[in-house]
């Protein structure tokens, strides 16, 4: 049975089902409904854990880290400025190898002050050592949060699940909420030992020498690499138990495609409509949905695009001085190929600006015609 739910509430349901023991958070638009829903659950007794209302996101993350070190499952959610404020603690979390799961509701970062969806907030946390998954819709968000706990706790690395502000967080969709027994069958209870022992006190995050530091970093890097198989296994098991699954990437009609659109997040749903329309018009268009940013699915991307002549990457984010961040990642991933596709980067939908199927079709057609695309991105704006 499906329930009508906004994406934020779907995430809250996942937190409940994951039997999270500590939620530490601070409200921020468009994440606030997650915070509110979890508060409601705590109030009516359906949240198995406790809510800790911190005075800032920096403190929320610090609280999650400390709680996780004592051996409990933790969750936080934030957006935009909140994530930016957390930045320092994000490194602490991954460095301390704590399996925190966080939902980031993508929102533009000030200034100017605004609220719409934009991935620049979480993409700029790319190098903090967190796994990052971008979800297309509310159902995927719910399922991904549950999967994230299993992955995080197996590899002792934190996971960030990103959803688009308003498009996913506030739009109401029919959602299938798995029952507790199903989730329990997939997600074992938190069983990582406490790292604090009052009888035998120790210090975490202590000073190390350069060689030791490099050793820890390499170990973390290797463990991040090992997550590739863990993610895959978790997804397969989830598909087996719950009946739904998602890859780190998803290819739609890419095999014979002359142009493949690359998208992430909520925009993917629009792109699905656009490529169907293009196919109906005789244009051989395909779609590559990117879910994982870290670890980056290099091999999967190479396999899908190795025979594609032209690629258009649509980014709802911008790195000043270069271009769209997904586009850079795709280009870097494809560089080792002998035959590389021509890649055009598009910047569209910044701050939640509308990206219609027509606009996506236009981008595909334009990219298909391009013979020698510029390295600079093309800005797609409705008002121009």
């Amino acid at each position: 049975m499906k329930t009508l739910l906004q994406g934020n509430y779907a995430v809250a349901e996942a937190v409940r089902l994951a039997k999270v023991q500590l939620v530490a958070a601070y409200p921020i638009t468009p994440q606030t409904p997650i915070y509110e829903k979890l508060s409601d659950m705590e109030n009516d007794g359906t949240l198995p854990g406790v809510m800790m209302r911190t005075e800032s996101e920096h403190s929320a993350m610090a609280a999650c880290i400390a709680a996780s070190l004592t051996g409990v499952r933790t969750f936080t959610a934030t957006a935009s400025q909140g994530l930016a404020l957390m930045h320092e603690m994000l490194h602490f979390a991954s460095g301390n190898r704590v399996p925190i799961v966080m939902c980031n509701v993508n929102r533009v970062v000030a200034v100017p002050w605004a609220f719409g969806s934009d991935q620049s907030d979480s993409l700029s946390q790319r190098d903090t050592g967190w796994l990052q998954f971008y979800c297309e819709d509310a159902q995927e968000a719910l399922d991904t949060v549950i999967q994230a706990y299993r992955i995080a706790e197996q590899v002792l690395l934190p996971v960030m699940v990103a959803i688009d502000g308003f498009f996913t967080s506030h739009f109401i969709e029919p959602i299938e909420i798995p029952d507790q027994a199903t989730v329990d069958a997939f997600l074992p209870a938190f069983n990582i030992p406490t790292r604090f022992n009052e009888e035998d006190p120790a210090y975490i995050a202590n000073v190390v020498n350069p060689e030791q530091y490099m050793g820890y970093r390499q170990k973390s890097f290797e463990d991040m690499e090992s997550t590739r198989s863990v993610i895959k296994e978790a997804n397969e098991e989830f598909k087996h138990i719950v009946g739904r699954g998602y890859g780190v990437v998803e290819a739609v009609k890419t095999d014979d495609a002359e142009i493949v659109l690359v998208t992430s997040g909520a925009m993917t749903s629009t792109a699905r409509v656009a490529i169907q329309s293009l196919r109906d018009k005789g244009v051989k268009a395909g779609l590559l949905k990117m879910k994982a940013l870290r670890p980056f699915p290099t091999k999967e991307v190479q396999d899908i695009l190795k025979n594609t002549p032209k690629v258009a990457v649509i980014d709802r984010n911008i790195s000043l001085g270069k271009g769209g961040i997904w586009c850079q990642e795709i280009k870097a991933a494809l560089y080792p190929l002998e035959k590389r596709p021509l890649i055009t980067g598009y910047i569209a939908g910044i701050c939640g600006a509308d990206v219609s199927p027509d606009m996506i079709e236009d981008m595909a057609v334009q990219a298909l015609e391009g013979e020698k695309p510029d390295d600079l991105p093309i800005w797609v704006r409705r008002d121009q």
Binding site: G95, A202, V208, Y216
Partner: protein, 584 residues
């Protein structure tokens, strides 16, 4: 890392984990700029001629230690009950809080302590007794102050006072309604309890010569005051109905009567003039006019006393001066006055008044009191070989207080100190230090410099007695800019209330101004910034990001091995006790 069943040993392999102390990392070595915790002094203290440790007294009082606060005042000032009433409070004019909202009521605080605190004289008695006897001539504020400080240094002191009771101008010049005699008596008693002998009714010169005294005493301090009223030098000044202000006040204070007419004019703008007018008012006169040759802002009297006087119905004729005294049937009948205008500043810094030609006017009067200044009565000491200056004062070296005669020192307004109580007390204090240095063969100039507060006129007696254990650096004065005003809420000043109605006030000599309400005093004590005085507020201790501030019994110390020199403590210290030093 893969799979569940993770053990703590697994975790220790992948994350840094320490059971040792981080203290091996001397992070403080990475910076050269460090905070230092050092008590300083305040602008109010620097401004106080007596050098009262005002911020420390406020600090002790803030902890509820009122007796200790009073004791701090009494380290430098034997007469806090007097100063708490009549001082011209230069401290308040320089109070840092004045730049924030209103100056703290320091004078009211001193009075509060003197009126309510307990004095333990036994505790103040000197540990060491000296043989050298010291004679002091005059028991006014300068003489009492010199006697008190010399007694505290262990010297046997005898004061010779010409008048029947001790106190000098405090008793005979300041009327009861401003300074009740009981307050004065109590503070004089404390001085006597310290061992000072006061011989009253001994007119030096007439009853006992200075040469005689000199034989029995190893040093002498002349604090003879200025008890002769200055003359108007006008025609008709010897008419009946004309007298000088200080004689008038002394006569009244001695319990004698003075017959004044209905219309009274008082010449002058100082406290004596105001006190003459208000005293006359209390004795029944209705029509009293003050005539002053400059404008209101140049009046040397305290503004609050001038206002009090006006409320009592006394008129002021500003920018006017008498030119001639007019008589009728051998009695004073009026004044011919002339209007004045102000010109360039004179040597006193005030604008010089000039008569406006043709502006003469007539004021009918029955009595005239001239309160235009006082000079010492020096005929008694003239035969002693002392140099007397042109203005009639005993000449001294201002830095050493030494007169022209060896072993004889002088101070107070008889030796040209400013004619305010606080300046007289300061003068006596310096005299005590000078006599100590003379007897011990020390250089007074050097000693004064060592114990000087800031770079001004006062020094700390406590610092002089025990510099090793002195809690503050007297040379560092905290300016307003160094106060962290974020730590202090705004708040209005608690003033001393008038405690008798105007109707009552003009009928009696009851004290007009009351003490600050005891229930309000803690708020005024809280208002004081306590500039430069550590109050153990713990802000530095709590805010140090490197846990490098150690709370000691009597002060905070800084762990320089770990302090990274961020300056948080110095920036947040409410009262500039912590400052940064070194590096750049």
């Amino acid at each position: 890392m893969n799979g569940s069943g993770i053990t703590i040993e697994d975790i220790r392999k992948i994350v840094p984990f320490s059971q040792g102390s981080t203290e091996i990392f001397l992070t403080g070595l990475w910076s050269s700029r460090k905070p230092i915790h050092i008590d300083k002094t305040s602008p109010c203290r620097q401004a106080c001629p007596i050098g009262n440790d005002i911020p420390r007294a406020f600090y002790e009082a803030s902890m509820g230690h009122y007796d200790e606060a009073l004791r701090i005042f009494r380290q430098d000032n034997p007469l806090p009950g007097v100063c708490g009433r009549v001082c011209y409070h230069p401290c308040e004019h320089r109070c840092n809080r004045k730049d924030y909202d209103e100056a703290v009521n320091v004078r009211g605080f001193e009075r509060f302590l003197a009126d309510n605190g307990k004095v333990d004289i036994e505790r103040e008695k000197p540990a060491r007794h000296r043989q050298e006897k010291i004679a002091i001539i005059g028991s006014g504020p300068a003489g009492l102050s010199a006697a008190y400080h010399l007694a505290r240094l262990g010297f046997p002191v005898t004061i010779f006072e010409a008048l029947p009771k001790p106190g000098g101008m405090l008793r005979y010049g300041i009327p009861e309604y401003r300074l009740p005699k009981g307050i004065l008596d109590r503070e004089i008693t404390y001085i006597q309890e310290l061992g000072v002998e006061i011989k009253t009714g001994v007119m030096v010169g007439d009853d006992k010569s200075l040469i005689e005294i000199q034989k029995d005493y190893q040093a002498m301090y002349l604090a003879i005051g200025a008890h002769d009223g200055m003359r108007l030098k006008l025609e008709g000044e010897n008419l009946p109905g004309v007298m000088d202000g200080i004689t008038y006040l002394r006569t009244i204070s001695s319990g004698k009567k003075v017959k004044l007419g209905k219309k009274i004019a008082v010449i002058g703008g100082g406290n004596t003039a105001i006190d003459c007018a208000r005293t006359a008012r209390r004795l029944g006169a209705k029509d009293i006019t003050i005539i002053y040759r400059r404008s209101r802002s140049e009046m040397p009297a305290l503004a609050e006393d001038v206002e009090g006087m006006e409320r009592e119905g006394i008129k002021i004729e500003l920018l006017a001066t008498p030119k001639r005294l007019i008589s009728e049937k051998g009695k004073l009948s009026g004044l011919e006055c002339v209007r004045m205008k102000l010109g360039e500043a004179d040597t006193s810094g005030r604008p010089r008044p000039f008569p406006i030609e043709g502006s003469e006017f007539f004021i009918p009067v029955d009595s005239l009191i001239a309160a235009i200044g006082q000079i010492p009565e020096t005929k008694s000491v003239r035969n002693f070989g002392l140099s007397i200056g042109k203005s009639g004062v005993i000449q001294i070296s201002p830095e050493t207080t030494a007169t022209s005669v060896k072993g004889v020192f002088a101070g107070g307004d008889g030796a040209d100190a400013r004619a305010f109580v606080a300046d007289a007390i300061a003068s006596g204090k310096l005299g005590a230090l000078a006599i100590f240095c003379y007897l011990d063969g020390k250089d007074i100039k050097k000693e004064f410099k060592n114990h000087q507060i800031g770079n001004e006129q006062s020094f700390s007696f406590q610092h002089f007695i025990d510099p090793e254990h002195y809690p503050a650096d007297l040379k560092k004065v905290v300016p307003y800019e160094r106060i962290n005003t974020l730590c202090f809420p705004h708040g209005t000043r608690h003033n001393n209330p008038e405690r008798v109605s105007l109707k009552e006030a003009v009928k009696t000599f009851q004290e007009v101004i009351g003490g600050v309400e005891p229930s309000q005093m803690p708020f005024e004590i809280y208002r004081c910034f306590k500039c430069g005085t550590c109050t153990r507020c713990d802000l530095c201790f709590l805010l140090c990001p490197d846990i490098s501030i150690v709370k000691g019994v009597d002060k905070y110390t800084i762990k320089k091995d770990f302090c990274k020199g961020c300056g948080q403590c110095a920036a947040t210290c409410p009262r500039n006790v912590i400052e940064m030093e070194g590096g750049q």
